[in-house]
Amino acid sequence: MDLDQYRIDAEPYYHAIGREVAQFSAAYAARLPVMLKGPTGCGKTRFIEHMAWKLGRPLVTVSCHEDMTASDLVGRYLLDPSGTVWSDGPLTLAVRHGAICYLDEIVEARQDTTVVIHALTDDRRVLPLEKKGELVKAHPDFQLVISYNPGYQSVLKDLKESTKQRFCALNFGYPDPSVETEIVAAEARIDSPVAHQLVQIAKRSRNLRGQGLNEGASTRMLIHAGALLREGVPLSEACELALILPITDDPELRDALAHAVAACA
């Protein structure tokens, strides 16, 4: 099985906020595993798509969740009329055929699941398939990338020290207002002054981070608000729909945010 369906044909839009493109390229050249850190919606997934396109590698993405078992990553036996048949999981697929495997929100997965990547992420670069009795040697082009949102950190959800230390890390944050304006304008296809207004509003909502909000409005949310504006929804409504209601259920914070939106427009 080849990985053509995982190839990215058109260039995904990405606006660099620092030297992360060069840094990631270097890490890939050395086949070092990379961890992308940053709040949700700041462009981690878009960045890895862009890099996969740039490096010409297929990208296998797995969204991790708390019920995910090791079998969901490496594969399992299935039944067919002739008996059992092994089916590779997404990670095994990427390892065999030389893709970039992106484990999104790795902390969500149980800790006993995440240890299967250990042998892949040191100089051994092998994936043992215990149930099948096979040791898969990684394709030379294979690279493992994980994303990790430090905002969610709690005692219950944190990476093991032994996992963390296998990775290089790139830190992502919300871009500078001017860059973020450009991104929102381009992605939502709206005028730059309108995008600037949205970025100003986002700044107010990020001020409340840790003061009742877990996260402020992300770049992704701004793009959603921009798309609503493009469709003719008035600004206050678009902000309510895309920026306020999704992030908080607290009526008092909603009220504060709605008036902060009014102050910015």
Binding site: R76, K131, Q200, G212, H259, C264
Partner: protein, 751 residues
Amino acid sequence: MSPDPRGFLRIAGTTEAADEPVEVIEAFPGEWLAPWLRARRKIEGAGYGAPLEAAFRKAAPACARIVGPEPAIDMADYLSAVTIKAGRQSGEDLCRVAPAVAERLGDGPRFRSWMSLMQRFAALAPESVRPVLDRSEALLARLKLSGLEAWLLGGIRLAGADREKRLAFFRMESADAERLLDREAGETGFFDVERRMRAYATALYGIRAPVREAPPDRHDGAKRRASFGDGMIRMPPSFPGFLGDEALELYRAALAHIGAHMRFSGPRFPVGKLKPLQIAVVSLIEDARVETLAIREMPGLARLWLPFHIAQASGAMTAQSLFARLSRALLDPDFEDIDGWVRKGRDMFHAAQDRLDDPGISRAIGNLLGNDLGQMRVQFNAKTYAPQPPYRDDNSGLWAPDDDAPPPEDAEATVVESVRIRQSDADDPDRERQTNDPTPRTGRARSVETPDTGVPVASYPEYDYQVGCERPDWTTVVEHAPRLGDPRFAAEVLDRRADLAKRIAALVSAARVGRPVRIRRQADGETLDLDACIDAHAALRAGEMPDARVYQIMARRTRDLAVAVLLDISQSTADVVSGGISVLELERDAVIMLSQAMDGLGDPFSIAAFSSNGREEVRYHRIKDFGEPAGARVGAALAGLQAGYSTRLGAALRHAGTDLARQPSFRRLILLITDGEPSDIDCPDPQYLVEDARRAVQALSATGIDVFCVGLGTRNTEQEVRIFGSRGFVQVTNISVLAEKLPALYLRLTR
């Protein structure tokens, strides 16, 4: 002209009635006259004295004309009851205000409800009837009858049995009276919207400074202004004359303005040799400067501020009027003023548009304008001056105070204020800092926290079943560091009860679950379930549809339970039961054994003890927190417990629940051990705290926290069943076996 009805009555032979004046007979026409005469005779026969009789004869007909004869006649009974409870003076006052009240209420049933309310009030707080009657018109102007009832009962609850305190409340001498009145009247006090306003200020400017309500009576009403300084924003408790949404807009405008100062005003200006007039003008220019800068960043703020600028271009040439006009001229591009001084100020300000980042321009322009005003001989009174519009602060945060100035009077009050943390602040990262360090800028502030006074950490609402509503922030929980007793206490108990400890250990190991379990025939899983595969294959061979559930998984069934143990240590636990041991000592032993069991099971648990001394002091002792190991310190803290005070159960439950809610466990349980019904010194009504506790239990259950009560002793358990429900309560009649019962009970409860 109608014929004189007295003529008819003379003919009818009712001579007594014939003596009544015309207006009385008109007020009680026809068949109502006889009942009226009976009511009159009743009052006169009771011997309340001539002034009261005269007052009634005057008031009742007046009321009858407004609300009809029947309620006016019934007034005699209510009047009698009030007079008996609260004295003749109160009775006379009732008569005096009754017509005006009747006028305001407008109909019989409501007038009757008012009289009945006064009768009840006279029975509960006789000394306060006169002050309340004196204010009845003003009160009813703001409150509906139900609101008045809630306010009266609120005052009684607040002061408890303390007559002086009640009197102070109903004379409106205490701040609580005003605050409660605001609340019942539906006026928006800052207190009610503090949290959202603080979030608003944080959102706009990223300000993390605490926003506090300024102590009441600091300013007279007309001069009420917000202020800032020393890293704190103070808002007036309310802005008189601004209701509902208008008040909210004003708070927002004020916070947006202060935020602009904090963002754009530099270090404080030195006062130097400036006169009050110059200070006022410089402050005004500075206000406009920071607002202009803020509007450049957030254009919507102009819409927030401009509606408050209502100065007109014409008007008296007073400083107050000119200042208001200049304020508007600087901010409102559409405002044209003909006055030369206002125009000059506006032109200078506009000329400086490119240099607005520099606070120095406020001083420069302000000084020039101030000199002009001086030459114009405009009167300026610094004492009565308040910046206009009302959203602007009092400017005290802009100016460096003189070093030898006396500290502000309210320094201490503000410090107390800053350690008082509302329930809603529970997740506030500032919390720790505030509880541990009540920002003692003045030496006096230290007095707030002496070793045994404890730290007020939270306030909770309390439910009043008579009014059917929760009074917000009614009780204050004061946390005390546990007094440590004998550190070997726990070890001694375990030694003394070695047998029991061994039995509990056996029970625990039996109850401890968490072994991996194989779960077969799953649609999804790690490995194939061999039996299911064979079945499926057989089905395939037979040409049947195979069952797709051919996997198995290994899963651990874990206990996921957090428990908060809450001990009642009120005075009654000092009672000695059989064997010369006090209830508290038995409770302590039992908790040691219980914590042994819980520790063995690996359930996270906390232990706290509570008692109360009125609503302002619900004493809470943290003996063990969730993260803390159950070591010798916990034993020592248990050993150091002393019985005392009362049992305000609802507040203690709410506080324990707030802690427990932060535990990430699936099941959360408060295990309460108590020997009596809720009671407190300021609650004469025994049902009140029972209903509040019931309400607290229900509220906790709605947030997924179960409450289970272990009641000690052989009392009637009706109240406990009312509070906890029959399944949330067990009675241990023989207290001496509590240490054995409790762990066993716990295991059964949490299986």
